[in-house]
């Protein structure tokens, strides 16, 4: 039976994820060290796990309100205000989603009319393009370059804005490059956003994972931007809670209402016990000034410095990422592009890394290496990569 005529054209046209494609192959090899995962290697803090367990023991297994536990929304509001100085009303501007992924999709659903364009910096996380397409919009890449430390510049943004542009997705700290956007750069972007009267979906899931002096700046903190911004965040990265699937969206009430309507019809509410665990994570965090999170960041920082120095020393030039848990070295010096490099490294060097073009064309000469692995494992992997690179270095 030919199913094509039954299936949605829009969905069929979406290409499969480049990461998935690569790891379907990588998974078949033995003795491979994988540096592919995009999730923390730490356990969820005990205060979160305990709160989740207790909620189950108490038999709290019913739905929560559509927008999530009021107590959790209040803690999220407090957290955003205390740690990032943005002010959202917990009842009319914040709601809890099934991971940040749902929040991104809802935001796009709520704003896109057929044919609307959404600008997405490239390279970026693989979900934005398909999500825009599923909503009937068109994702337009705004190229980011290693010379700019993979920041989105006002100039490169302006180049791709048309009269159909509805919104910009702003994913910083960035997966896969590890780039961050300092306040000055956000201010430049804000000018363009205002000039062209567009919205911003700011995916700040890696906001706690920044290194060096400067902490993350929320885009909504920039003057005049809160009213144009949907802030998307979650517990996965900062609290090592990927499998719990808890995220949240903060938006001006007019957008919030439409997003919530979709959430209500298709999801109803995020998992109740996962919400209790998230509540435990925030409460525990406020109790000890987020000590556990800071410990994780310190550990990531050591690994990050280790990788950057090893990669640069072996000739895979690598700009110093200031956020997330990825490094994004250029492999041109080996005479290969990212895809060939990744394939051969897998076969000959037994290390799996993600080819950079999985994140858009401008990632072609790069590979993504995750450092959500123990130092010990990273060390072994770097030794293997070094041996492999020495064979091909020109």
């Amino acid at each position: 039976m030919n199913y094509d005529k039954y299936l949605s054209k829009t969905v069929m046209e979406i290409p499969p994820s480049g990461i998935r494609k690569f790891f379907d192959v990588a998974d078949k090899y033995k003795d491979v060290i994988s540096l592919g995962v995009g999730e923390p290697d730490f356990d969820t803090p005990w205060c979160a796990r305990e709160a989740g367990i207790k909620s189950v023991q108490k038999g709290i297994t019913q739905y929560t309100s559509n927008s999530g536990l009021p107590a959790l929304r209040e803690q999220v509001a407090k957290y955003l205000k205390d740690r990032f100085t943005v002010d959202y009303d917990p009842m009319s501007e914040i709601f809890i989603t099934v991971g940040a992924s749902e929040a991104i999709y809802l935001a796009l659903r709520a704003i896109i009319n057929d044919g609307d364009e959404v600008v997405v910096p490239e390279p970026s996380y693989v979900s934005y393009f398909p999500s825009v397409a599923i909503c009937g919009g068109k994702a337009v890449p705004a190229k980011c370059y290693v010379e700019d430390e993979f920041r989105l510049t006002a100039e490169n943004l302006e180049k791709v804005i048309t009269d159909k542009t509805k919104a910009l997705i702003l994913p910083y700290p960035n997966n896969p490059t590890g780039a961050v956007m300092p306040r000055e750069n956000l201010q430049e972007i804000a000018k363009v956003v205002k000039k062209h009267d567009i919205l911003v979906l700011s995916d700040e899931i890696y906001c706690e994972l920044t290194y060096g002096e400067n902490r993350h700046t929320c885009f909504a903190e920039i003057e005049g931007m809160k009213e144009r911004t949907v802030l998307i965040n979650g517990f996965s990265k900062a609290f090592a809670m990927t499998g719990w699937r808890v995220g949240y969206a903060c938006a001006p009430n007019a957008i919030f209402k439409q997003m919530l309507k979709i959430h209500q019809y298709i999801i109803m509410c995020a998992s109740t016990n996962a919400q209790y665990a998230a509540l435990g994570a925030l409460k525990g965090g406020f109790d000890d000034d987020f000590a556990e999170m800071k410990k994780m960041v310190e550990e990531y920082d050591i690994r990050r410095r280790f990788l950057v120095s090893r990669l640069n020393a072996m000739g895979l030039t690598c700009f110093e990422p200031k956020g997330a848990f990825y490094v994004f070295p250029c492999v041109k010096s080996t005479g290969m592009d990212g895809e060939e490099f990744a394939n051969r490294l897998l076969e000959e060097g037994k290390v799996a890394v993600v080819p950079g073009d999985a994140f858009g064309e401008s990632g072609k000469d790069f590979i993504r290496i995750s450092y959500a692995y123990s130092l010990n494992k990273l060390q072994k992997a770097m030794d293997r990569i070094e041996e492999f690179v020495l064979k091909y270095k020109k």
Binding site: S17, E299, S309
Partner: protein
Amino acid sequence: MDNFDEKILKVLRDDSRFAPAQIARMVGLDESEVAKRIKAMEASGVIAKYTALCNTEKLNEDVVTALIEVKVTPQMSSGFDTIAKTVYQFDEVKAVYLMSGAYDLCITVEGKNLREVSRFVSEKLSTMRDIVSTATHFILKKYKTEGVILDDGDGEEKRQVIL
């Protein structure tokens, strides 16, 4: 000890084979500065020893380890120190801790077999003048020691690459 010393220690405690040059890059200091700090920590005794952590389950030699609870009569002037020092001079004794609670000293003893450990307890330990009583617990299996998980029964759970 400052934050840098702590970071250096953190790396070394994870794997003491990291060279100062590598540690320097990880913590953001000069190589010479890291070497100097490590030397200082060795000199002051913060770093007591570099060693290899063995999984005795996988060694072909027979080793029996026992935890021994010891009650003692403290000395007038030196408290528990004199008896602890007497106990730790034996090669069979791997650790000596002063404890709070129901007994005073906790001693870890290693021997080739049960008999060897038993003989140590009955002939050497319990005959000491200030030792009131002992209770010997043999360790049957080590699942985790010094923060390292030793039983690889389940292995490392494979983490999925999702997206």
